[in-house]
Amino acid sequence: MKRDPVYGIMAEFDTPQALVDAAHATHQAGYQKIDAYSPFPVEGLAEEIGFHRDEVPLVVLIGGIVGGLTGYLMQYWMSAVAYPLNIGGKPPHSWPAFIVITFEMTILFAGISAVFGMLALNGLPMPYHPVFNVPRFVLASKDRFFLIVFSTDKKYDPAATRRFLEALSPRSISEVPS
């Protein structure tokens, strides 16, 4: 497949409100493949660009269950199967004593899943990304807000999309080379 030389068109805004309104308008206009960038989490922005499925909670739940089972079964196997030791006359499978480590392992596995699951779902680490080619994009981590329409979008047209974004009165518009 031939690579499109243009990755997308990017518009820059001054306030989170302007970005949310622009994202809303763009999505309403039928653009599907869009993204928004902000220096801090903006409430409702992800929904405006059509992002509804966040799988992080599921990953964490699975991690927690696996961790709890690992913790308990590990202790059961080591204390009751692999090398049973008589400690103070307690039964080899003395489950109340195993609860603390089961709990800690649940937390540990769930926490690791939350961090690495979030990074993996976000496709990070990714040191290079085409949006970094836009010189003004360094402000996305300071005080500016950006909206991009990807060139892979069905409705994307270099001239028409640019005109559409200009109508949203952004501060600047740039073409993102891929």
């Binding site: 306030t15 409100q17 949310v20 994202a23 993204d35 928004a36 960038y37 902000s38 220096p39 801090f40 989490p41 903006v42 409702g44 922005l45 992800a46 660009i49 992002f51 966040d54 992080v56 909670p57 964490v60 590990m74 202790q75 080591m78 204390s79 692999a82 090398y83 400690i87 103070g88 307690k90 004593a97 195993f98 603390v100 480590i101 709990f103 800690e104 392992m105 937390i107 540990l108 926490g111 690791i112 939350a114 961090v115 699951g117 979030m118 990074l119 779902l121 976000n122 990070l124 680490p125 040191p127 290079y128 990304h129 970094f132 360094v138 402000l139 996305a140 981590s141 300071k142 005080d143």
Partner: protein, 457 residues
Amino acid sequence: MPEQYKTTTDLDRAPVIEPGHTFGTVTEKISAIVLTRPASNGWFVGFGIAFMLTMMLLYALGYLFLKGIGIWGVTIPIGWGFAIVNFVWWIGIGHAGTLISAILLLLRQSWRNSINRFAEAMTLFAVASAGIFPAVHVGRPWVAYWLFPYPSTMGVWPQFRSPLMWDVFAVSTYATISAMFWFIGLIPDLATLRDRTDNRALKMVYGMLSMGWRGSARHWHRYETAYLLLAGLATPLVLSVHTVVSFDFAVGIVPGWHTTIFPPYFVAGAIYSGFAMVLMLAIPIRKIYGLEDFITERHLQNSAKVMLATGLIVAYGYGIEAFMGWYSGDRYDAFTLWNRLHGPYAVPYYMLLICNIFIPQVLWIRKLRTSPIALFFVSGVILVGMWLERFIIVVVSLHRDFLTSSWGMYYPTRWDWMTYIGTIGMFLAAMFLFLRLLPAISIFEMRTLLPEAEVKE
């Protein structure tokens, strides 16, 4: 909320962030500490002293490895000495960082946003300092990994019915989760530093560490979910850690240890000392780096109130211990109380009561709650008091148990002191480096506190 209440609370509370700041000024001001501001002579002197103390720690530990723990004051019956006192003290200090970053996040206390980053760093360095002690106290630290369940040629496994084993899992989970929570919080700010610096090498380093964060709305959504879930996981975790530490004592039958009040009173004491350390760090940092706009009177007041509340829980714990000594009718428990009040370690016990119960009551006075100097002083007193508390619990309980034939005394040696003071040096050296290399205040969370960050649907 009715209007009249609104105005009184508004008047009552200093702002979390002083008015007049924008996204840009918040970013500039915090990142400038790392990127443009040259290190002052004061920083070099402070770091130098802390670094020398760290070297002293390494010397003390090196000699310990050479000679064994006989160089310490520990003997039978007092086998736990300074190492365990310091371990519990440091772990407790770490708890305030997690409380601030996780529990206050869940409670939507947005004032936490300006102190959570360095409080989390404090947690990490405190846990690192704490971890040294049990590892070297085992006597043969090169086989400390035997504590972990791994398939060894000996075929034996750890003894999971022991609270000491629970502690290994609790503390290592706590260290791991704290480190991840701190690092995750740093990612967007590292991206800011990557974009702000002109130095190519620094750009590479911050760029690698930020993992190519670009602030996409999808990323932020997953990020916030993960952050919130981590906070939800860290909350029961932090409460469990000091609970398990207290089990190390409470499950034993030694008089003065065998009591059910230990878990809640250990957790309260941990938060008490942790907030004292937060204030002792925050007060000089905000002064030296001119961060009074971000760490305002409100933060000092709130921290002081948390100390007052947890301090009263701790006082209640002491009261119940004394009451049970009398009420249980157990002669050994009664003797433990008598021994604390009249025994050879009575002076530390009275100092403990003065430091942890009496002096902190001055925090009821609003004027002192808002005075940085008074708060700094009271926090120092609390840290000393909480150290004494652990000394009383560990040493005074062990030195006279059931039979007079097994009584003894504990005298710390210079190696005990060098190790303890050395970890304080290591902790401070790490804090000094942290201040210069990473943003000490969470930049992106500060941006969300500005009125411009509000979005209407």
